[in-house]
Amino acid sequence: MNAPAPNSTAPKVVGAEKIKVVVSAIVPLNNLVTRFEFKRAGGGQFPTFSGGAHTVVEMQDGDFKRINPYSLMSDPADRDTYAISVRRDDQGRGGSLFLHQRVQVGATMTLSSPVNLFSLDLRARKHLFVAGGIGITPFMSQIKQLDAVHGNWELHYSCRNPELGSYVDELTSKHAHSVNVYYDDKKQLIDLENLLDGQPIGTHLYVCGPKGMIDWVRTTAAAVGWPDAHVHHEEFLAPQPGKPFAVRLAKSGLSVEVGEHESLLEAIERLGVEPPYLCRGGACGQCETDVLESEGTFIHRDHWLEDDEKSSGVKIMPCVSRFEGKTLVLDR
């Protein structure tokens, strides 16, 4: 009998149903960025979502299952098609290369239900968007969401050069007055302090792009008196490679060596153990794992744990962090 478990001490993070999809279109925008469009396998509608949401894409690359998060850039009101835009990274772990070089129209994949770690603050009187390069993607869906209700937004978008200005034409033709584009090759820089000066009270600032840009915007905003609660950012950390290391999972009684190019989370999953996750990029906190025993050094790369949790070595975020040393025993 399916009686409710009345007193579980460890609440399970409920995994929502995954969505099987078919690649319906592949649209190269320029030398680096390609848009992938999906339809639901077997027909049917996609769930709607809130602008800024991402989906975690699972793709089979031979024996290896690639699992990467991408912002949904399609219109949340479009229930027939989901779209992501992927920037090719030749130095990366291969996910973007796989998509660019090996995936064709008709390929099947699995998407997670949309998850939003970069949502609009709906109280805002005005939304000020600062995008760098591929960081434009979450703003694409947010702009469409705001336009549907005549929301007040302004975009400042920095690109390397016109050729690599993904979606610049679409944005400037539809929103000439709200979109400002800056090209690095013409030395056009966002005059950030000036931009932040004089914004009406109740404005919220959102930044998405390379780490350097995010840090610059956050630091500048704080220096001119913007409250932290008014400044929002999203940065998908990709797991960095590192020396292989051994880890033991106490609960499961299993051990594994984490390879140079796989994350600790991926190694745990390889054993058939499935920690919860929502972002796989060090931000959402879901994969937080207790360390039972360690002898070595932690390499924390996440944005989730507090400083004292990092220095005391009692917790680790397996999606992006690593370890170097003799012993690591985790509570999984």
């Binding site: 004089g198 109740g202 220096a223 913007w226 008014h230």
Partner: protein, 200 residues
């Protein structure tokens, strides 16, 4: 020093700090009565802020006005009461731009109300600084008639609107800028314990 050490309480009870200078394009400092001492203390540490500061002061019987004016802030306003100052506060906030730092000092009632005005203008409360000085009397909302009774210093007290006897809770609403008062003799009508002073 007119500061009071509030006893530790439940998580919805506001906790006040010590005003510190923060980077910003402009600064709005609102204080009542002994709250002026906190502003004066801040100005002594960072006199350069004054060129971009707007001070709003409600004396409530104290005489700090001259000293505050002598700080030479960019703007200075002295109001006879919070109610009289309210329309000016609302206008200053609605005209404000991001990059404004807000500093509140004085009674809980004044700070709570001014904080709420800033929130209504779209400014998140987490960045608003508060420092308590002076009276520890509370603004109380009667949960039954929704009327606010000002300057409550005893527990239980009589709602100044509907007359019910209310006990003082530490549960606090930023939106209403008041603590909650609930009927003390609902279960035993007429059985009202003698009032004691708050924090005694």
């Amino acid at each position: 020093m007119s500061a009071f050490k509030f006893p530790e309480s439940i998580l919805s009870r506001p906790v006040y700090g010590i005003l510190e200078p923060r980077p910003g394009k402009s600064h709005l400092m609102i204080s009542d009565a002994e709250g002026a001492e906190a502003i004066l203390g801040l100005a002594v540490r960072t006199p350069h802020l004054m060129a971009n500061t707007h001070i709003i002061f409600i004396p409530n019987g104290t005489k700090f006005g001259t000293k505050l004016q002598a700080l030479n802030p960019a703007q200075y306003y002295e109001g006879p009461s919070y109610a009289a100052a309210l329309s000016r506060i609302q206008r200053v906030l609605s005209d404000a731009a991001m990059g404004l730092q807000i500093y509140l000092a004085g009674t809980e009632g004044m700070m709570g109300q001014a904080q709420n005005e800033a929130m209504q203008a779209g400014y998140d409360y987490t960045a608003i600084q508060t420092e308590h000085r002076g009276s520890v009397a509370r603004r109380m909302q009667c949960v039954h008639c929704k009327g606010i009774t000002e300057d409550v210093i005893i527990d239980p007290f009589k709602c100044s609107h509907c007359g019910l006897n209310l006990f003082v809770r530490d549960h606090y609403s930023r939106r209403i800028a008041a603590f909650q008062g609930v009927c003390i003799d609902a279960e035993n009508p007429g059985n009202v314990p003698p009032s004691t002073e708050l924090y005694s």
